[in-house]
Symmetry: D2
Subunit: 114 residues, 4 copies
């Protein structure tokens, strides 16, 4: 993903409409949660089977909501100078330490979501 290009699109869009003044961190966090819920809404009443066979209309809708979530997430990253790729890589390393594959006896750990 060409992050520079994407960030420029997002910045320009907002600046041209004079919307930066609305984009303080609390508002961005609220907007992120609203967009996330619009993604959740797509799935809320679907059966597992319907989720596995999304209509093309719902798939298109999902693509839009995924984008909306990403845009607000990137705005937050831009506001706080966070490199998203670096953040993900560091967090996954933490997760690997938190959930190691082998215990201290060298035995493979069986994981279950609790």
């Amino acid at each position: 993903m060409d992050m520079q290009k994407i960030q420029n699109i997002i910045k320009t869009f907002s600046r041209e409409r004079d919307w930066d003044r609305h984009h303080n961190p609390k508002n961005l966090a609220m907007a992120l949660s609203v967009e996330t819920a619009e993604l959740v809404e797509i799935f809320q009443w679907l059966t597992p089977e319907q989720c596995d066979n999304l209509t093309s209309e719902k798939h298109e809708h999902l693509k839009e909501e995924v984008a909306d979530v990403a845009v607000y997430l990137l705005r937050i990253c831009m506001a706080y100078d966070i490199d998203l790729e670096e953040a993900i890589i560091e967090k996954m390393k933490k997760n690997e330490k938190k959930y190691p594959l082998y215990d201290t006896n060298g035995e493979k750990i069986i994981y279950q979501k609790k």
Copy 2:
């Protein structure tokens, strides 16, 4: 962002712990909303001034939560074969049509969030 690399890290982590069976779309959507709320939680009681001067501890915490949101968002993209970069670019183009800069008389439109 090297999307192939990031997706491989995410896929491998999950497969090695046998967690794919938990990662159906409804569960992923729920997890996305939970991680989003953990990001919101950082800001919920802060004043605007505190948001603008995040402590380094909170900044580090934010970086982790941003990553968690991104990871679940990418999992959803992977489950539905969505190219995130393409999705963002298409959505921003839609937004530009929805909120044009000039009206039909060629006058610059003044936007306010309602």
Copy 3:
């Protein structure tokens, strides 16, 4: 539910700790979404069977999260002078009009969540 009693408990708790200054509407809305996500978190990785047979520990946890959501919802009601019982009854009447039981031919409508 003795609403007067509940509201007094909530008001007194907050006033005694000088927390009212944090409880502006945006913060309350954020807190409501955070508490809602803590409730979602209980269910996120559970199978339908596990949901139907909640452990007593998880049931106790659910009871707490339900209470937390309710408390922030009531704070919002108190901030805007909303009578929750009245609000629910009015909304359910609207829902009944939106989703009538019979169509204009007097035929029973078959509803499916879309």
Copy 4:
């Protein structure tokens, strides 16, 4: 609040439309988070001043969203046989222990949201 009356309205509405089959715990939790976000959406771009002087249209909208959140919260309570009043009272007692007014020296504790 006449909880018996409210619960009957909610139950009857759902049963008459054959919607109970959609109302499993995971779906209800998702729906609760979606309704909560619709409430958050009202406030997301408002300034504190606008929040304090909500237009009557927005106030009416808020009343509806408050009701929607409450209805899904009550459905969850009904599914798990939770007495909401009791849950709130017990949780507030826990909060009072967690955030006591006086420390062990009898000194009044000064609380700040962190």
